[in-house]
Amino acid sequence: MIGRWTIPLIVALAAACGVPFVAGDYLIGVALSLAMWIALTESWILLSGLTGYVSLGHVVFYGLGAYVGILLWGEVGGVLAVGGAGLASGVFALAVGYPALRVRGPYFVMLTFGLAEFCKYIVIDVEAGLGQFSRLLLGGPSVLQLYYVVLGLAAAATALTFFVARSRLGYALRAIRENEEAAETVGVPVAFCKLAAFALSAIIPGMVGALMVARSSYFEPSQVFDPIVSFTIVTMAIIGGSDDARGPFLGAALLVLLSEILWARAPQVYMILLGILLIAFVLFAPGGITGRLLSRPVKVKP
């Protein structure tokens, strides 16, 4: 059933594992970024690609994970901190998901954006109230260790999205995407299914957030809750042009490459290109995100 895609994926994973043996620090760093974006975008696709509830605030899970990570890391060590970050993001998704997922279509998009910004400012205010404007994380793991962990998360996110898309839940989610009333009327418990997808899509970004704080050894709220992260995720998914687990690879690879070339020298030019890519894909790639990408069927294999 997995057939054609298993082998290329395993090869890609094996190659990814081998990167540190042939590459220098710089390239390992780039590979780490790539793995991070794949993990984030795969998680996004689990929610937005499958259900059509397009989230423009996925950074909230990343940022929350980063915050919980930095708070816990010194106290309980890295492993538990990362686990705790994932758990916190998942629980947060469950808590806000129920009311938020009642909001449909473009209003959900705006709501997610607003929610992420809201959380950003709350954390900023809380930190300011504590007299902390940024925090340092010293003695974190090496880039190499981080690379393998994030690579593992990228693989896990890909597998999760892949299997959910083909599961019973996946059928329900895609039915919800196509027509929520009809889905409900044929027996799909829509509120439950949406909430499940929301929570599943939150956990890995939470863990990634904690790990990326360890990478930069530095935590600043406006950085880890930066809406550019959400925006990049959406653009990667759109460029990837698919509604299942295979999508993000191309999009993430292209944008990471672009970012490596441009980000350090001309961040604005990078952002402008990102904006143009988004416009072009929505307008000219037939159907764009909410049409082509979100409504292309996964092949049935009875």
């Binding site: 059928y171 895609r174 027509n179 049935v300 009875p302």
Partner: protein
């Protein structure tokens, strides 16, 4: 045996009263037709029974359990299926997947996708859609989408099925084919059907009993033959009453 019972059900939207004090019963195995002009409240009635909307007052009972206020997916699993007057296919999924979703989440709650696919194919065959199973549902003709609505409703394994103008917009030949298909399907599964139809003749040929709604109220209930001669019905249809 009474399968479905409505007790003085009313529904208001804002200030608008869509249904007022409607009561009737449907026995197991019956085909009941609902007649009424546009805006008489037929679709609202279906939405209330299926759980897509909640009555403002009154009670709805199904198999001896009160169901007003429960969600559509709960009602579906309890054995009520409906079609939509304005078709609502899962346009980006294939025809087969459309029906599979209903098998997976309907009253049978099938866990295995292979079994669900097999079951879905049987139902598509009954409705003459098996040729189109790999096609995207959005690319079907109107007639095809109407059949898909029925197939999807059947796939949930209902005891009661609510058919909302499944013949509207079809040609005479298509109507005849569909009528036959519905009869066969009903016999095979001992279904109970409530059907809203604008195509009068179809309703006359199919229904055991007819309920007539006018401006949200039930004005008559009776055998098809009696209904066509009823003065109130004629008046309502010609528009001299009200």
């Amino acid at each position: 045996m009474t399968l479905l019972k409505l007790q003085s059900v009313s529904k208001t939207f804002g200030g608008l009263r869509a249904l007022r004090d409607v009561s009737f019963e449907v026995a197991s195995g019956e085909i009941v037709g609902i007649m009424g002009a546009n805006g008489a409240g037929k679709t609202t009635l279906f939405s209330l029974i299926a759980g897509n909307a909640t009555p403002s007052s009154g009670e709805i009972w199904f198999k001896g359990r009160r169901i007003d206020g429960s969600r559509p997916d709960q009602n579906c699993r309890a054995g009520i299926a409906r079609t939509f007057q304005i078709v609502r296919p899962f346009a980006g999924l294939t025809v087969l997947e459309n029906v599979m979703v209903a098998v997976l989440f309907g009253s049978s709650r099938e866990r295995s996708r292979a079994k669900a696919a097999a079951r879905a194919e049987e139902i598509l065959h009954e409705l003459g859609l098996e040729e189109r199973k790999s096609q995207l549902a959005g690319s079907l003709t109107l007639s095809g989408q109407k059949r898909l609505e029925i197939a999807r409703a059947l796939a949930t394994g209902p005891q009661l099925i609510l058919l909302d103008e499944v013949m509207a917009g079809l040609t005479a030949t298509e109507v005849n084919e569909l009528l036959t298909a519905i009869r066969v399907i009903k016999q095979r599964r001992s279904l109970t059907i409530v059907i809203v139809e604008h195509v009068m003749q179809a309703l006359m040929r199919l229904a055991d009993r007819i309920v007539v709604l006018h401006h949200g109220e039930k004005i008559v209930e009776g055998l098809p033959a009696a209904i066509v001669e009823d003065e109130r019905v004629i008046a309502a249809y010609l528009g001299s009453a009200s």
